[in-house]
Symmetry: C2
Subunit: 348 residues, 2 copies
DNA sequence: AGGAGGGATGAACGCGCTTACAAAGGCCAT
DNA sequence: ATGGCCTTTGTAAGCGCGTTCATCCCTCCT
């Protein structure tokens, strides 16, 4: 009764650690220890504290805890969009792994916009995240500066670059595209086009274009400018891009798509246009989304281990939190999954 | 120089408000006001504070701010999974809207598991979110209790229920399924099956089953138990479910799918099995994912305004934060989009 | 010219919790 | 029995910021 009254006078009458402590007849220090480091408290006291906590329905205040311990148990990440299954999977895996260790994920999206990416990152850092997962190496230097200033570990994902001075987990986008183009040339293609993602501020998209170009150059071929179209990662854009490519007098016999979503669009549109795939046109995707194997015909694509990527990012950060110093370079394998959208070009 | 040295002695040498204040020759109170309520400070002082903040690269400590102001500028939500585009879109919209008002989204996933849902929600609340977006009305009472205890506004989404005593934004899943079944009966179907989501702990999945059943009952028909299969929302599960349904002696002439992902699986598998859609089998999805219109044949499905849902959830919470008292009941319209996977049943 | 009124400022406290540090108590060995 | 050491507990000092309240200064009115 008295307590009720007193509480009402103070703050929000919400139960705090002091209430639990009083109820259990101990100091807040002991109550805090009982809740966080049970082994440091006598079993009898531990039980009393736990009982009164449960009794009062005590819910700790994470904010206060974070301020006192300089440690928020959150990790931030800013993804371009949730609307692409490939990120969704990686985030899912990341979130799981972090969750197992008691960490929560703070998420923001950038819509592939550099400025929004920076401001989102800033907000996450301000929010007090313990660490950060960045996507792509093309970050505003400001982001790294803030991270360093606040002494927060971070890791760059999706693009692996040994030369970078930032810890990274990912794969070599350049090499992956190189291999796709090489495969297409192996089976006879000479005129290869590309429906790429927007390369501006996106090191992955640009590396994929460069990789394909390099592979062709290595065999004395070129990928003509007019056969490379950049489009936002959207199915409808993929459809339209295919149409543009086939409005030209001499369309390619094979098209490398910047990701599976664009490839799906291309496959669907080819069907509408009556272009037989793979007989007259070979199509390759990138990501290997779950849907890739289910469409008709099943899509040849580069498999990206997005689950693994999320897990490793989590593991890296958790290790850093634990005071360890895991390897900052972490390359993942991608592999070409050949299904039914690729075949030798038609004989002319 | 001197400052450098002094800083190194203290804490983490990270720049804090006091540093900015000293540099600008004002008190921390004024510095704080300059940064947060510019109109309360003389222009000259404002400029000085801003300059030294920029100069020192000051990044505010959101945690300390949250503790002092009892206000974290974060909103929590726990979604079943990111792996379903329908949630992805809603989250995207939610996140956008919140971002415009300076709020960040704290995200967790439950994998459709009640226990994980509760623990995730608890963690978010402990993290100090200002408000919470819940998915589905079947929440552990504990969640609502904690929310009430901490006096945090929240809103239940995806299922609209006027009878509920929780604020909600969504649509009537029961009615939506009722309408789908009615439509199928209108065009002549009598034997209708369902590939539903797992109804346990999922009021949306169960309402959809109940709604379809009710529609049939209203016309003196029944949906036989053996024609209703519950499956996790996964494309491969949809494929397999279709196969099960067609292993029966008397397969349905139409199947209502719990969501589009299951429907995609069913469409793809029907193609493999050589069952002509819609000539011999009508298929209806739920959600109207972007992909629905692109598959072959384009999917008839119930359109769910997930963007709108995310936006409204954000608006509701923002209004509550602003001290307003918006309507707690917010029903959205869903509409049946008839494409090419539905047609009258074959004459027998 | 004098006082009232209002805006700008700074000192100090508090947000709820963690965590040195010190104090106290219990145990064993000498 | 006494000293030393380890374990358990309490005291109190922050963590970095927002915010109240008193103070001060400037302007305007009579």
């Amino acid at each position: 009764m008295t307590r009720q009254t007193r509480k009402r006078l103070h703050s929000d009458e919400s139960i705090k650690l002091a209430d639990v402590a009083r109820e259990a007849g101990v100091s807040t220090a002991t109550a805090s220890r009982a809740l966080n480091q049970p082994q440091k408290v006598r079993p009898a006291v531990l039980a009393r504290v736990r009982a009164s906590a449960a009794d009062l329905g005590y819910v700790p205040d994470g904010v206060a805890r974070a301020l006192a311990s300089q440690h928020s148990f959150t990790v931030g990440t800013v993804v371009p969009t949730f609307d692409n299954a490939i990120f969704a999977r990686a985030i899912d895996a990341l979130q799981h792994r972090l969750g197992e260790s008691g960490y929560t994920l703070l998420l923001a999206t950038s819509d592939y916009d550099a400025e929004r990416n920076t401001s989102a990152a800033r907000r996450l850092i301000e929010s007090g995240v313990d660490g950060m997962v960045l996507i792509g190496g093309e970050q505003d230097p400001e982001v790294f500066r803030m991270l360093d200033l606040k002494r927060r570990p971070y890791v760059v994902t999706w693009s692996y670059c040994a030369a970078s001075n930032h810890p990274c987990i990912g794969f070599d986008n350049h090499d992956a595209a190189y291999r796709i183009a090489s495969y297409l040339m192996d089976i006879g293609h000479r005129r290869i086009g590309m429906i790429a993602g927007i390369s501006l501020n996106n090191d992955r998209a640009s590396a994929r274009i460069a990789g394909a170009r390099a592979a062709m150059a290595a065999r004395g071929l070129v990928m003509p400018r007019e056969l490379v179209i950049e489009r936002p990662y959207d199915l409808a854009e993929g459809r339209q891009a295919l149409r543009v490519l086939f409005d030209r007098p001499e369309p390619p016999t094979a098209i490398i798509c910047g990701n599976d979503v664009l490839a799906f669009g291309a496959v669907f549109e080819a069907k509408v246009l009556g272009i037989p795939v793979p007989e007259r046109l070979s199509l390759v995707g990138f990501d290997d989304l779950p849907l890739a194997r289910h469409i008709d015909p099943p899509l040849t694509t580069m498999h990206v281990p997005s689950d693994e990527l999320g897990k490793r990012a989590a593991d890296y950060l958790l290790a850093r939190f634990g005071g360890q110093n895991p390897s900052p370079l972490n390359e993942l394998e991608v592999r070409l999954v050949v299904r039914d959208t690729t075949a030798p070009p038609p004989v002319r």
